[in-house]
Structures are given as C-alpha cells and as structure tokens.
C-alpha cells in the first residue's frame, strides 16, 4: 500500500509542479477572501486582531475546496482515474497518496499566504512552533476529509457544489480546533492542549475511516 501511495503522490506532485493549479488557485482565492474581509470589516481594531486566526482559516477553508476539487477532477478528465482504479493496487494506497499530496498543497498554500496574512492583520507570531503544528495538523485534517469527499463528489454532476457542502460541516471540529491553535500561536490565549489533541484525534479518526472506506468509493 505504501508503494502505491508513493507512486500516486509522485504523480500528483509532478502534475502540480508543472501546472501549479492547485496551489495557485487556493492561494489567490484565500488572498482574495482576506482582502474582502478587510473591506467588509474594519480589521485594524484590537478585537479584530484577536479574531485574525478565524479569518485566516475561513479564507483557507473555502480556498482549500478549490484545490481539493482539482485533485479528482484531473482523474476524471480523460478517464485516467479509471485506469488507476483498475490497476492491481490497494485502494487505500490511492487514498493515502492523494491525501498526502493534498495535504502538502494545502500546507504550501498556507505557508505562502502567511506573510500576507501577517501584514494585512498586523499580527505577531508568538509561538512559531505552535503555528507550524497548527498548520500541519489542520492541513492533514482538511486533506483527510477533503480527499474522501472530493472522490465522492467527482462521481456527481455538481461536484463544485457538493464538495464544500459535504466537507465543510464535517470539518467543523477541525476548523474550530485549527482556529484555536493558530490563535494560541498568535498569543491570544494561554493554553491550547485540548485543541491540539482534538485536531490530532480528528486527523487519526478520519484518515483511518477514509482508508477503510475508500475501496467503496472507487468501485463502479
């Protein structure tokens, strides 16, 4: 299974390196949302600055769906996904590869968007390690459920609508935890151990569930 995951990951990375579609789409969209927040609300007040983490993750949650959508759209495009599903490989490996690829793209998007976020909202990173952990666990969380639901939605005629509709409600616990951990990293709270634990639990639960269930998504 790991080998399959590795091959699939390699493939998705190659495609992304060439097209840069996933990361650029998510990046542009999240910057757009952050800018719009700036116009819609006065984000230069201390209260707003405390809520900065929330704005970041909201922007990211929506932007993330763009890159997640792409993940399986490219499989459907010329039927390559079918050839992939027919190969003598463990479906869980396909999921693992795609999930890792998506996680990497999401993390990359966050890292690139970070400087802009710091500038727009005038925040200071108090605990850098916490920020990294928050981003990593958050990206995995979104990738875990996002990859599963993207694969499911790819089978339908309204995949752009269905992916966020399925994915966002289920990601609520992860979203809350991600915001709280990022907020902690920005110095707005004194402890976040519960949230880090919740995020970790969420990641483990959903990656495991998806690994078990993915073969059903692939069958035709």
């Amino acid at each position: 299974m790991l080998k399959t995951a590795g091959v699939v990951l390699w493939k998705d990375l190659r495609i992304e390196l060439r097209t840069k579609d996933a990361v650029s789409a998510a990046l542009v969209f999240s910057i757009l949302v952050l800018v719009i927040f700036n116009f819609a609300l006065d984000v230069n007040t201390p209260e707003m600055r405390r809520l900065a983490a929330g704005f970041f993750w909201v922007a990211f949650a929506f932007a993330g769906t763009l890159s997640l959508n792409r993940s399986f759209a490219l499989e459907k495009e010329s039927g390559a996904g079918r050839a992939l599903a027919l190969a003598p490989v463990d479906p869980a490996g396909i999921y693992a590869g795609k999930c890792l690829a998506n996680g990497l793209f999401l993390f990359a998007t966050q890292v690139i968007a970070l400087p802009l976020f710091v500038v727009f909202f005038d925040v200071t990173i108090v605990r850098a390690w916490a920020l990294v952990v928050s981003f990593v666990l958050g990206s995995i969380a979104f990738a875990a459920t996002g990859t599963l639901f993207s694969a499911i939605a790819a089978n339908t005629r309204m995949r752009e609508l269905l992916l966020p509709l399925l994915f966002l409600p289920v990601s609520v616990p992860a979203l809350i935890a991600a915001v709280e951990t990022t907020s902690f990293a920005l110095g707005n709270s004194e402890s976040a151990s519960f949230w880090f634990t919740l995020l970790l639990v969420y990641d483990v639960v959903f990656v495991t569930a998806s690994l078990l269930v993915f073969e059903y998504v692939l069958e035709e």
């Binding site: 339908t156 935890a177 519960f194």
Partner: protein, 236 residues
C-alpha cells in the same frame, strides 16, 4: 399481511393517544415556568424533536453500515427514510429554538452548544440528501450515500466536544442551561410523555417513508419492464 396491517394500526392508535395525552399535559398539567412564562412550553416539543433528530442520524449510520455489508437495497431505503424524517425533525428543532429564544432572551439565536450542534447536524443531513440527488446510478448512489452517512455520524461526537469546549472558553452572555436546571416533577412527566409521543411520530413517518420507497422501486421496475418489452416489440 393482515397481521402487519393490525400492527400498523395499533402503532398508529398508540401514537394518536400518546400525542393527545402529551398535548393535554403540556397545556393543562405542566406548570407555567416562573421566569420564562408560557413560551417555555415549547421546550416540551423542542427537546423530543431534538432527541429524534439525532436518533434519525443514528439510524442512517446503522443502515448505511448494513447496506455496505449486504448491498441489500432495503437498507438503503431505510437510510434514506431516516434521513428525510430526521432532517424534518432537525428543521423543526431549529425553528422552535429561536421561537423560544426570542421572547425569553431577546435574541433569536444563541449559538449555544446544543443548538449549534443541531445546526451542524442539519448541514450534514443536507449534504447527505443533496449527494443522493446528484448521483445518477442507483447503486452508486446507495454506496456513496452510505459512506457519507457513516462519516457524518462519526463526526457528530467530535463536533459536540469541539463546540462544548469552545463554549466554555468563549462564554455566551446568555446561558442556555434553563431547561436542565431543576425540573419540577410535573414538568419531568410531561417531558417524558412528549419524548415517547414524538418518538412514535418519528417511527410512524419513517415506516411510511420506507413503504413509499418500496413502492417507488416497484414502480421503477415495472416501468423498466415496459420499456424492455417495447424495445423488443419495436425491433421485430
């Protein structure tokens, strides 16, 4: 068949009786709450509805599991029916909540843990139903819906913990613990009767929906038969 009809009839009668009893208790037996007034009585409807909303999704979960294991369409029919009745009850919870909140606390929505959880549940239900709508093939629809039913349900406890902890960290000006605090025994009785009545209502609707689904499947099969026969006839 006769026995099933009888069983059905008995359940329906029991439902009617319990609903009537429940309504009577709500209006004539349960005392008027001192702080909130008569509006508080929505509580007797709101809580049973909420309990059933979650029960509905538990049924979706179990039926989804059974479907993946057996691929028997009747489990898919049960999941679908539980989801439809469940979403109805969830919607009613979300409506009765604000109706209660506004006169009592002055705001429509309180973002308290339970209500927020119900809202997320509603969204998960909607995702489930909308997915079903947009998948063409019957078998794929059942399989994909089952996966969503299972993952959605696994999520619910995580949502609950997340919201609960978040609420303790960001307390609301309004505390929504009103209903739990010190129930007068007459209130407790009324509540229990209502829970029973609404659960019976849930199952009455659920059973009918399952039966309807079965009829629909039969109608589809007949239509396919007719199509096939026509295709045969045209070619000779």
């Amino acid at each position: 068949m006769g026995r099933r009809r009888m069983g059905s009839a008995i359940l329906d009668v029991t439902l009617l009786i319990s609903m009537a009893t429940a309504m009577a208790l709500i209006f004539f037996y349960a005392p008027i709450e001192s702080k909130m007034g008569i509006v508080q009585k929505i509580f007797y409807v709101h809580v049973p509805l909420a309990w059933n909303a979650f029960l509905g999704f538990a049924i979706v979960f179990v039926a989804s599991f059974r479907y993946l294991a057996t691929r028997d369409p009747k489990w898919d029919a049960r999941a679908l029916s539980a989801a439809e009745v469940g979403v109805l009850f969830t919607t009613l919870v979300l409506i009765t909540g604000p109706i209660w909140a506004k006169p009592v606390w002055g705001i429509w929505w309180t973002w308290d843990a339970r209500l927020t959880l119900t809202l997320v549940l509603w969204l998960i239900y909607m995702g489930y139903l909308m997915l079903r709508r947009y998948v063409e093939s019957t078998e794929r629809r059942a399989v994909l819906a089952a996966i969503v039913g299972i993952t959605g349900f696994i999520d619910v406890p995580l949502v609950y913990f997340a919201i609960r902890w978040w609420r303790t960290q960001h307390p609301q000006p309004v505390i929504a613990g009103g209903e739990g605090a010190g129930l007068d025994p007459r209130m407790a009785t009324t509540l229990w009767v209502c829970v029973v009545a609404f659960t019976l209502l849930f199952f009455a609707l659920y059973r009918r929906r399952v039966a309807l689904e079965k009829l629909r499947a039969e109608a589809d099969a007949l239509r396919d038969d007719a199509e096939a026969a026509r295709a045969e006839g045209a070619n000779i």
